[in-house]
Amino acid sequence: MTRPVYERPILIRHQSGMMNKFSRVQAMRPLTHIDGVSVDELVATYGSPLFAFSEKTLVSKFRELRDAFTQRYPRVRIAWSYKTNYLDGICRVFHREGAYAEVVSEFELDKALHLGVPAEQVHFNGPYKPESALEKALPGGTTIHIDHFDELALAEEVAARHGIRPEVAIRLNLSAEAVPAWSRFGFNLESGQALDAVKRLVGGDRLELKGLHCHIGTFILDEGPYREAAAKISRFANELRERFDITLSFVDLGGGFASPNTLKGQYLPGDQVAPSFSRYAEGIVEGLSELDYSPQEMPTLVLETGRALVDEAGYLIASVHANKRLADGRRAVVLDAGVNSLFTSFWYNHEIVPAQEFRGVPEPTVIYGPLCMNIDVVRDTMLFPQLKVGERVVFRNVGAYNVTQWMQFITYRPSVVLIGPDGRHGLLRRPEQLQSIISHEEMPEWL
């Protein structure tokens, strides 16, 4: 007779509201492979922790977004939002698929140009475009999205200096349904500020207004606000045509589409509430139908989707370093990856699955990172199966914002790896070492 396999002893006190054992854990399956490559192989090759990206998912999400919009609207352009993930390899995957670049700083502009993106295929956003940035962008043919009156004046100055007439867009802010205006960016539409900006631009006669841009917010779980924003932009475009004879070549609805992540404070899981690309597309295209443009002159619809394109492609693989029992009876797990690598754990209740087969009763478990800091909680209490030291877990949907917002804090940042469609894999970014950090330090001579 075979003996039962030992599992650590547990005793769970029954409390009302805490006794439902039929959870996601029951439907939880281990994630042993990513696109056919085993997690073990990845860790053996690159160490733990590590970020892994699926090229297959990057491409399929891109095409899904493109198709959802092109089926409903004739001219669509996707500009890859660099700030979401500007690793060269990730950007190249999207550029190969035909994406433009959307940058928000001189650094990101440099990065896009260095990657070989033609200057005229870059949309340059953001409230801070210093003179040096405009000197680079405008003569090169990059489209800047003007954020404020001071920038408008500066852009005119630069244009005059070079004797050019750059094509520009202006950024609007507006309130759409429940979403309040992000009034710190761009010109307010409802108050007439946006119209003033256009008057000023037309009067200055140095820039060519070719586009309108608005970005209503982030992680918007409903297509309604996009419909309204698109409709408001359309009506504004109609007004510009009537009053100033301006025909736009593009309207840019920004980004903000949700990924399957679950925000903290969100009751239903994200994969259940995030609208599909089709629903967003339906809303936006419905709003754009208010444009009084003939079919031949319909402006290009620009999308700056970041998170919803890359989040699902990213995985963080981490290892169990220790198991603990907290004073309140909860189980705690210490991983080798913390909030320094997984910045988004401040916003999301990330989905975490074991990377190997598991058994046993799941227990309320809190998951900590390796930092000697109280804030290093990568996942608040969740039902999680018992894992042994050295076993691995995989965080899903971590492709957006982590490898740009991560911190070099207390420890090194890990490797980032791309898994190709044919099972090949290779580094996107080497793991940091002591030299990566101290090579930028100097020692004042008197020390």
């Binding site: 039929f22 429940a178 009751y267 899981p269």
Partner: protein, 354 residues
Amino acid sequence: MERPLTVAVTGLNATDNPGPGVSVIRSLRLHPDFDGRIVGLAYDTLDPGIYARDLVDDVFIIPYPSQGPAALEARLRHIKERVGLDVVLPTLDSELASFIALEPVLEELDVGSFLPTHKQLDLRSKVHLSTFGESAGIKVPPSKVVSSVEDLYRIHEEVAYPFFIKGVYYGATLVRSVDEAVRAFHGVVARWGYPVIVQAFVQGDELDVVAVGDGEGGLVGALPMKKTFITDKGKGWAGIAIKDPELIELTRSFVAALNWRGPCEVEVIKDADGAYHLIEVNPRFPAWTYLSAGAGINLPYAVVRLAAGLPVEPMHDYEVGKMFVRISLDQIADLADFQAVTTHGELLSQRGED
């Protein structure tokens, strides 16, 4: 003669803020033609309805909606295999999205349901109610969606005090000052997350309707009720069926505007001038649904038939003046039953089975 149906009903949390499940089950049991079995679906091992052994044949614990549809699907497959299911009748707001997402699975399992669509659910949601009301020509008190406490400090410029703070799914607190508003806001967010809805307070009589839409714009039946006894928690503890053709017409226009499919509860305020203001539409049966059965239009039974693909005639006549008066009642339960629910997550009617 139709075969007896096995009907699963959720919402067995018959607490002082009761879920509608027990009321729905009692309605089914009251119908002379119902000879099927009832499977109770509960979220907590102490949901009181589990221990109503005279009402519920079998009980299964199901995963919370926050666990997502995959977990629910696995559980429903198990239940179907274990005791068979013909119809499932969810009764709670927060679980509807999961059940709607699982409609293809239910179909594959040959389990009938009669649910609104995602789109219908969205349009009547508190977030969108005022937009919808406008388009359907129904008055809705001004409301505002807020997603941060800061929004509350200036909200009085748009919605005057007092007003209601409401959660996406449940809960409404009348607040008179910014302090009360902030407190209520945090309470609602802790429980149901974002966003939070601020809705203007309208003075008048609160009236409720339980209704069922046939999914094609038609009204299967509607029963208007006025609460006659409200507890200090704001729950209707007694109520009376009233004659209000205008309110039924309002309900009919709601159902027609959305092609509403399934049960709903329409809450209105009738102001001093006799005008109706639509406060809320809940996409499910209310906890006082049993009154509909008692007054002669058994709406839960109608929904079960619709879910099973059986014909239902619209019902118009109900007994005006029928009342419900709720009672709290201590049931006696066996530790063995509690143990079965806790360890196995199920409690079957045939005893001696492990």
